[in-house]
């Protein structure tokens, strides 16, 4: 076919010759296409990541507050041995896991309904209803929660109207999750995190659930499984890749966020805040870099696990 096309006297010229040349050399053609993006990512992105990594092996001189450009593990040691730093890492990790689990639990019925039960119109409504808040400005959403959680804000008004104020106060008195008000407690922060990342869980989950073949469900029913059994043994395992894909987002986004913990403030620091503060006011880039390696390592571990669960097939 190619020989025919080349010999056909349709249109000659440099473009045809170039086309034929490239067609005969797919490897060259591919490298030509990939050269600009690879150059960009190779220099800008990987280069930056490498610089970051290099910085984490430097340390800051405690007297002059200047970076000493000699490879050392002192900064990492500082991150991993100081109790206050370990607290920060554990606190962030616990929050990320809790947010991921909560997102999965809340997302499942939404995704399940929109993927498998909703009529076409309802489905469109659900997709828009999930995508709109997802794409609404990040800061606008954080700000919205500040309004909602504020002391005289909407949520306390509702709680008060329903006569549940004592319950809220009791919850806020709880040692770990509570605080003076919802807007300055780990509970409030948790709610905001769940809200922010929920769409990232719903969408891959819905995509996975949509691909569950009807025939499998029928087969399961024909073989005598009750709906709950079918759900547990057929639907959930097939949804697992979607769940894994979504959890990559919720986990990673929570680990790295520094805006939400600083806007919906609880007393304790989170990894992201620590990184931001160290590079900014403290000017200690090596410590910030070493701290930012922690979420990278955690996420690499998580990605490997998720990949094994087939997360990237559902993206």
């Amino acid at each position: 076919m190619n020989a025919f096309a080349a010999s056909a006297p349709l249109q000659a010229g440099w473009s045809r010759r170039a086309s034929t040349f490239l067609h005969g050399r797919p490897g060259f053609y591919l490298s030509l296409l990939l050269l600009p993006p690879l150059l960009w990512f190779g220099t800008v992105y990987l280069g930056s990541l490498f610089t970051l990594l290099a910085n984490s092996f430097y340390a800051i001189d405690e007297f002059t507050a200047k970076i000493v450009y000699e490879p050392t593990l002192a900064t990492f040691k500082q991150v991993l041995t100081q109790p206050a730093h370990i607290d920060i890492i554990v606190r962030t990790l616990v929050m990320a896991v809790a947010v991921t689990i909560a997102c999965a639990v809340i997302a499942f019925p939404v995704a399940n309904y929109m993927a498998r039960y909703a009529s076409p119109r309802m489905k469109a409504l659900f997709y828009v209803g999930v995508m709109l808040p997802m794409w609404t400005s990040y800061l606008v959403k954080v700000y919205a929660w500040r309004l909602i959680l504020a002391k005289q804000g909407i949520l306390s008004w509702f709680v008060d109207t329903l006569g549940l104020t004592p319950v809220l106060e009791a919850v806020l008195r709880l040692p770990a999750v509570g605080g003076p008000s919802l807007a300055s407690s780990y509970l409030g922060m948790f709610i905001v995190f769940v809200y922010m990342w929920l769409p990232y869980m719903i969408l891959p989950l819905a995509a996975a659930l949509e691909r569950v073949p009807e025939s499998l469900l029928q087969a399961s029913a024909d073989l005598g499984a009750r709906p709950s059994q079918t759900f547990r043994n057929v639907v959930v395992p097939l949804a697992l890749p979607g769940l894994a894909a979504g959890s990559v987002f919720t986990f990673s986004l929570t680990l790295g966020d520094y805006i939400i913990p600083s806007v919906v403030g609880a007393p304790g620091y989170f990894i992201g805040m620590m990184v931001y503060q160290q590079q900014g006011t403290a000017g200690n880039i090596p410590l910030a870099a070493a701290f930012s390696v922690v979420p990278i390592v955690l996420i690499m571990i998580y990605l490997t696990l998720a990949k094994r669960a087939g997360a990237f097939d559902a993206l």
Partner: protein, 267 residues
């Protein structure tokens, strides 16, 4: 086929679905509501009164306009660059298999898979190491890096869904590679490319986490907004800006949705 028994959701699923949807959407409405409040000191609810004067006040603030202009130009430029890089990658990756392909996909996803703070700090470390003054161009470079994957994903999905025999037919009819691209591939996939561009624009316009590291003294609209969260001057104006930001980000997204919808129904 007895679909009815299988197609009825349990009550729990239905309640969970609608409660979840409400949870996602109510906060957005709250923002709009508070743009009209007369109270600029607290966040009292119910609103003590309703007014339109904050819209007027926001129009008169030059700092908002400057931030808006900066954000729009950054987003436009980052989108353009991301569309070039993303479409090149998609064209290379859509049909062929080669060594290292998975690594490239992985590298593209990395800027959004890794926490934004890592990307931000990495870029900052590189900016400092290269002794560049952070500003407009460093913001653009950062935004482009994480926007590429959005364009790539949209474009490559459409390219993969295009039947291979269309290309073969075009070649059989004597078209060369460029002609096939121009007359067959591009018309089929242009809307997906455009949709990817729209999403990239919305993502860039709204980005704060990476931007705070790469912006230097420049103030994009999200950075303006961020400062306003801690040092509010006239609180409801923040809400007015929020409403504007929502509109500016949602229009391209809705367009993207509209652009990609018909072909999905066709296939």
């Amino acid at each position: 086929m007895s679909r009815s028994a299988l197609n009825r959701p349990s009550l729990g699923t239905r309640i969970g679905a609608f409660v979840g949807l409400a949870f996602l959407n109510v906060p957005v409405l709250v923002i709009i509501l508070y743009a009209f409040t007369t109270d600029d000191r607290t966040y009292a609810f119910p609103l003590p009164g309703v007014t339109l004067r904050w819209f007027e006040a926001a129009l008169a603030r030059s700092d908002i306009w400057a931030a808006m202009r900066l954000s729009l130009s950054v987003a436009a430029l980052a989108t353009l660059l991301a569309m070039i890089l993303g479409s090149l990658t998609a064209l290379a990756m859509s049909r062929s298999r080669f060594w290292g392909k998975e690594a490239i996909t992985f590298m593209l996803v990395l800027p959004i898979a890794l926490p934004g703070i890592v990307t931000g700090l990495a870029l900052l470390a590189a900016i400092k190491a290269a002794r560049i003054d952070p500003g407009f161009w460093t913001i653009v470079v950062g935004h482009t890096t994480f926007c590429v994957v959005i364009v790539y994903n949209n474009f490559v999905a459409r390219l993969r869904r295009m039947p291979q025999n269309w290309i073969e037919a075009s070649m059989d009819l004597g078209a060369d590679g460029f002609q096939t691209f121009r007359h067959i591939v591009l018309p089929h996939a242009a809307t997906a490319l455009l949709a990817g561009g729209m999403l990239a624009f919305a993502l860039s316009f709204d980005e704060i986490i990476v931007t705070l590291f790469t912006a230097g003294h420049e103030r994009t609209l999200p950075i303006w907004f961020f400062n306003e969260l801690f040092r509010p001057r006239e609180r409801p104006i923040t809400n007015v800006v929020a409403v504007v930001v929502m509109i500016v980000t949602l229009i391209p997204i809705l367009l993207a949705y509209y652009l990609t919808r018909p072909t999905e129904e066709r296939s």
